[in-house]
C-alpha cells in the first residue's frame, strides 16, 4: 500500500514544488521518509532532500537560472529589509508583503547593477512573473489583495548565501 496522498506528493515534488512544514503532506513524507528516498531513487534516479522545514527533489539536472534568480531575489530583499530597520529573518517567516512594497524595495535598491543585469528582476512585470514562479514552486504563497508571504522554503536560498562565508571568521563581530 502506498502512503496517503501518495499521488499528490509525487505530483507536487515532480513539478519542482517544495513541500514545507506548513503543508499536511510534509508529515506523510516525514513518516515514510525511507520509503520516499527509495521510491524516487529506484523509480527515477532522483534524490529527495529534506530537513525539519521542507522536502524537495533534485536530479542530475538543475534549473540553475531559476535558482540563481531566486537566490538574488532573497539576497536583495533581505538586504533592503535590513536597511529599512526590519528584522528580515522574522519578516520572511511571519510577514506578508504587498506586491508594490516588494517592487519598491527593488526600485530603490543599492544593488541596481545586479538587478539591471537580471531579466527576471529588472522590470515590474518580470519581477511579478518571477514571484509567480516562486508561487508555483511553493516558495511564496499568494494571499488576498496582491499580498505575498514566503514559505519555509526560502531558507534554502538565504542559508545558501550565509554559508558562502561561513568559514570566514575574520569579519566575525563577536
Amino acid at each position: 500500500m502506498y502512503p496517503d496522498k501518495h499521488k499528490e506528493i509525487v505530483t507536487s515534488l515532480m513539478e519542482g514544488k517544495f513541500i514545507t512544514v506548513e503543508d499536511f503532506l510534509f508529515e506523510t513524507i516525514k513518516k515514510n521518509e525511507d520509503f520516499y528516498i527509495n521510491f524516487f531513487e529506484t523509480s527515477f534516479g532522483f534524490e529527495i532532500i529534506g530537513n525539519h522545514d521542507f522536502y524537495y527533489l533534485v536530479s542530475s539536472d538543475t534549473n540553475e537560472n531559476t535558482s540563481r534568480d531566486i537566490s538574488i531575489f532573497f539576497s536583495i530583499l533581505c538586504y533592503e529589509l535590513d536597511k529599512d530597520g526590519k528584522n528580515f529573518l522574522e519578516e520572511l517567516n511571519y510577514s506578508e508583503f504587498h506586491i508594490d512594497e516588494i517592487l519598491e524595495f527593488f526600485k530603490n535598491s543599492s544593488w541596481l547593477d545586479v538587478i539591471k543585469a537580471n531579466k527576471q528582476l529588472n522590470t515590474d512585470d518580470s519581477l511579478k512573473r518571477h514571484i509567480g514562479t516562486m508561487v508555483k514552486r511553493n516558495i511564496a504563497v499568494k494571499q488576498s489583495n496582491d499580498r505575498y508571504s514566503f514559505t519555509k522554503a526560502h531558507k534554502l536560498f538565504i542559508d545558501f548565501a550565509k554559508d558562502l562565508v561561513k568559514d570566514d571568521k575574520n569579519e566575525s563581530i563577536a
Binding site: G16, S59, S67, S71, I72, S75, L156
Partner: protein, 403 residues
Amino acid sequence: MIKSEPKSILQFMASHYDLLRDLFDLQVKNDIITKEALSICIENYDKNIQAQLTEYQILVEQNDDFAFNEPYLILFEFIHQQFKPLLPEEIEHFGQSIRTLFLKIKEGINDDKNILLERIEALSNQIKKFTNAVINNTKSLLTESKELKANNKKIDYQEKIHKARYLIENYISPLNTILDVNHSQSIYNELLNVSQFSNVKRFDYGDESIRREFEKLYHLLRQVGKDLNTQSVILTNELLPLIERIKTESQYLRGFHHYLNNGNCYKGIEPPRIFVSTRDNIYNRFVYENTKEYFEQFKNEAELIVVEDAQQTIDWLFDKSKYKETLNKNLPVEDFFKWCESSIKQESENFSFDNFFMVTSLLFEDDYEVTVNKQGNKITVSNDESELIMPKLTIKKQEDVSR
C-alpha cells in the same frame, strides 16, 4: 558665585527650554558648542540670552567656544534619560574607590571613630554613583542597540556590524563582567562582601552611631543588589539577545553581500540545486478516465463464436526432393510444364493450380539449364476449373554445375 535666585534660573530654563535643548544636543554631538553655533542657535530663536547663559553658569567658556556646565549637563541627561555610555574604565574607577574604602574600613575598624564614619559615608556615595552609572549605562546601551537594530539612520550593514562590534567589545561585555556574580573580581562580588561585612557590624560594634551607619550601608546595599540584579536581567534578556540578533543577521548579510558583490552571483558561485520540472506529468491528468475508457471498450463487445469446419481436408504437400529426383532421372525434358502436369497427375488426377505452380518452382533451381522453344510453340495445361497457356520450355542438366 551665582547671584541670581534659584527660582529665576529654573524659570529661565523653562522659558527657553527649546533653545537649551538644541544647545544640549550640540554638546552631546560635538562635546563642545562653538561660538558660531551658539550665535546661530540664538538667532534662530531670536532671543538675546547669551548673557544669562553665562551668568547662570549654564554655559562655561572654553577658550573662544562654550560647553554645557557639568551639573546642567547631568540634569539634562537625567531629564531626557539620554546618557552617554560610560566606558568600563570609568565604571571601574568607582569599583576601585569602593575596594580601597572597604579595605580602609576593615583595616581601621578600631581606629578613630570620626574617620571610620566618614569612610562609611564615602563608601555609600561611591556605591550610589556606581549603581547610577550602571543603570544609566544599561539604558543608554539598550537605546543605542535598539537604534542600531532599527537602523534609523539607514546605515550600510558593514558600518552597522562595526558599530555593534564596537558596542559589544567596549561596553557590553565589560559591563557584563562587572555585574557577573561568577566572576571573582567583579564589582558586584565586592559589593556582596561589603554587604556581608556591614550586616555583621550593624549588630556587632561597640559604638551605636557606627552601628547605625553600618545599618544604613547594609540597607543601601540591599537596594543596590536589587537594582543591579534588574540591570543584569536587562543585559541578559534584552541587550545580549538584541546584539545576538544583530550578529546572526550580520552573518546572513555578509553572505548576501558576498554573493551580490563583484558579479559573484553570475560567475563562480553555483546556486542551490533545484528540480527541473517537466511538462510531462508522471500521472496523466486523465489517467483514471483513460484507463476506464480502455477497459470499457471490451465490456459490451458482442460475443464472437468460431465454428470449426467439421469436414477435414487433406492438405497436399509438395515433396520437393521427390519431384526433383524424378525430374533428374528424366532429363532432358522437352516440355517442362507438360512434365509437371503429368507428374502431379500421377499423384492426383484432380490437381489445383496452386499445387501445379509449386511443382513448376523446380524451374528456378540452379542445377538446370532452361531454353525456350524457338518456334514459339505454346502448350496448355488444364484442370476442372481453368486452363493455362504457357510457353514450351526445354530443360536439361547444367553441364558445369556439380550435383
